[in-house]
Symmetry: C2
Subunit: 174 residues, 2 copies
């Protein structure tokens, strides 16, 4: 079976080198909208998405994330012009799963509008820190939010990555 939706999930790749070129507002809004329609436990909609585009905040997050990774000279966001931070409300038992489904929809929707993406981890540690908590306050976000992931968005400055083979024992029909 083949259709555009199945193909999107099969052809989408994580991209790790970006041009310094913005993502159109209309495309960004379509991507965020798809994220907001991810299903969530008991429809509590525990996640939020924070969109970062200004250079100063991207540099700050880059420094924070690289420090957590232990390699301060590396750019963990690969020069992407947009960083969508997904966080979720710790008081909801399914918050990690909920936030992850938002991340998945963001990445699939990016593919759907011709934008490249990648999940970048370490959001949890970033927003557990005092510096991260200060950012949330600055952005007007109240409540006990845990970082789930960063979905970076932009246009690739590299060849489209090839598909890597799936492991043999992914599926058990019992």
């Amino acid at each position: 079976m083949k259709n555009d939706i199945l193909t999107a999930m099969e052809e989408r790749r994580s991209v790790r080198k970006y041009k310094d070129c913005p993502v159109e507002e209309e495309k960004l809004d379509a991507i965020l909208r798809a994220g907001s329609f991810a299903p969530t436990g008991r429809n509590l909609q525990s996640p939020i998405m924070v969109v970062i585009r200004d250079a100063a905040t991207r540099e700050q997050l880059t420094r924070m994330n690289a420090e957590i990774m232990g390699t301060p000279e590396v750019d963990p966001f690969y020069g992407a012009p947009v960083i969508v931070i997904v966080l979720a409300d710790r008081s909801v038992p399914t918050y990690i799963e909920d936030g992850s489904l938002v991340m998945g929809n963001l990445m699939n929707a990016a593919y759907a509008v011709g934008v490249d993406s990648c999940w970048i981890h370490r959001a949890r540690q970033e927003f557990e820190s005092d510096e991260g908590k200060a950012l949330l306050r600055k952005w007007g976000i109240e409540g006990d939010y845990v970082g789930i992931g960063h979905c970076i968005l932009g246009y690739r400055d590299c060849e489209y990555p090839t598909t890597r083979p799936r492991k043999e024992n992914y599926i058990y029909k019992v």
Copy 2:
């Protein structure tokens, strides 16, 4: 912006009443394939999917899940003819996120081929129990796997659920 992929993510709903009618093998395989192409941390492909269709095992899982929920008279799988259990390898730090992305692809792919779906929780507790561990052994699954979720699949025996409004503060453009 509109296209089939964006529409799928917006229109897919969780369905909670199923006909006693199987899912075609070709459709099931397309859904599972999409699941296997979900991105995973460091491409370690930490999840696995176990497909349950026989009545005896579905009844066993129904009993186990209902007992965890504390409501033994309820069918937590809503009569769905297919239960895809997603588990993930605990030794991979991103295992919950990885497994959740597989779940998300399964649900979106189901929509793509006209099959209804819903995420059913409590897989973690199910496969932490001795009974759950015995099932894994019976299925030939070795290793330290944690239950992430059940993706139930089938054809709805109800009206298509309506879209529920998104919360106001889902997206922060800062």
